[in-house]
Symmetry: C2
DNA sequence: CAATGTGAACAGTTTCACAGCT
DNA sequence: AGCTGTGAAACTGTTCACATTG
């Protein structure tokens, strides 16, 4: 018997993280007048082996032509489809400090596909002020005016406030959280959390600098981890 | 024959990225009056299995006591030693836009162990201005006044300027680069590059949101990749 | 007896090598 | 001839289970 729903075998996470890089490169090549790309070219430009490129791309279907390479257009479109482009994701940023403001204003972070629908902060000094044309709210205010659920929550706040904010976001419907706070979040397993811990990035570099061991270099370096536990530190 | 220099077997990169998390947790527990931690506790609080904690910690030596767990103090110290604390790393930030400024001002990014020794930008509007008590310079100016080599370069600038800045940093002695620009860098293999690509973080989350496949959640999520290639896109 | 440390089994990725198109 | 697509091998990291130790 077969599955009722068309089900692709899940794409490995390292592959998922590389697809946008290939996409970026293909887009750039298109802009420069190329129409096709070989796995060799892609590999060089992306800093990975050609074999890896082919394995990666084969997971999203046969987009290449033997003998001549990949059609750049088809590649961009194929990756876009796989990554969930076309849809628009409702994003809320919690924590309008230095980092939060920087993300809001950094071109390329919130591109098309991402719709900033809320800005939350707990500081009375910030609530009510306008940032990038959007009024900063408390979670209560946000909950009141939210009609549709949030998709993605971004945490740019101090560690001690991260868990509470995550809980609130989940209450607003968020399925995904991008956490910049140096704290591990306890969330139900269906919630996907990605961690970007800036101080850990520096520490990893220091370690290798000192040990003179270059390592092999991985993928996305965020600290992403799973639903943690329920051990409460004593007061 | 044996190596002249004491050489530990290299610690797996995922482990390296988790050690600072354990350290943070142990520090927190210490502050709360605990003196020991079990791998179970650490696992819960860090969102990983107890077995993984033990494997990770065993790579830096036998710090635990069977029957009672790890001494929190010894743990913090042992991890610090492994991560290269004690030394001070000379950091230069290239790109004093939104993100660069945010990093400079974000507590926890440049903690002890990291000494901000230079701020570089190419914009004439910024060069010469003061940011966080430090004057923004061009690479030329920086090269002139730099006596000791740079250790770590941080790139918070547009993609098109990333490769040039990386080359300059390497010229100033940098062995490690933390790259926030959405660009793959071509650097000699002894240079360690870590990538933090914010737009990719969001895209990975979107992918899983749409495919309803929660994935397994990895480690640090940066796009870190290796010395790329030499294929130059036509003009 | 509780909790570490670790060899061995397992799982997930990457690399290899080559068959198969164009 | 050139380049993709892919099984199979190699490798790296995780999980398991248990002997070991305080």
């Amino acid at each position: 018997m077969m599955d009722r729903i068309t089900r692709r075998k899940p794409i490995p996470e390292p592959t998922i993280a590389r697809l946008p890089i290939y996409q970026r490169i293909a887009t750039e090549l298109l802009r420069n007048g190329h129409t096709t790309v070989s796995s060799d070219q892609l590999g060089h430009l992306a800093g990975v082996t050609a074999a890896k490129v082919r394995k990666d791309l084969s997971t999203i279907g046969s987009l290449g032509t033997r003998g001549s390479g990949y059609d750049a257009d088809a590649l961009v479109a194929g990756i876009a489809a796989t990554m969930g482009a076309g849809e628009t994701w409702r994003v809320v940023i919690v924590g309008v400090g230095n980092l939060g403001r920087a993300l809001i204003n950094t071109r390329g972070f919130l591109s098309h596909s991402y719709d900033l629908v809320g800005l939350v902060d707990s500081s009375p000094d910030l609530v009510g002020t306008e940032v990038a044309g959007m009024s900063v709210a408390t979670f209560e205010q946000l909950a009141d005016r939210m009609e549709e659920p949030v998709d993605i929550g971004v945490l740019t706040l101090p560690a001690h406030a991260a868990q509470g904010a995550a809980d609130q976001l989940i209450g607003l419907g968020a399925h995904s959280i991008l956490n910049f706070a140096p704290a591990v979040l306890a969330c139900p397993p269906q919630i996907r959390v990605r961690y970007v811990d800036l101080s850990i990035e520096l520490q990893v570099l220091s370690h290798y600098a000192r040990s003179a061991d270059t390592g092999r270099g991985g993928l996305l370096s965020s600290v992403g981890i799973q639903p943690p536990g329920v051990f409460d530190p004593p007061d």
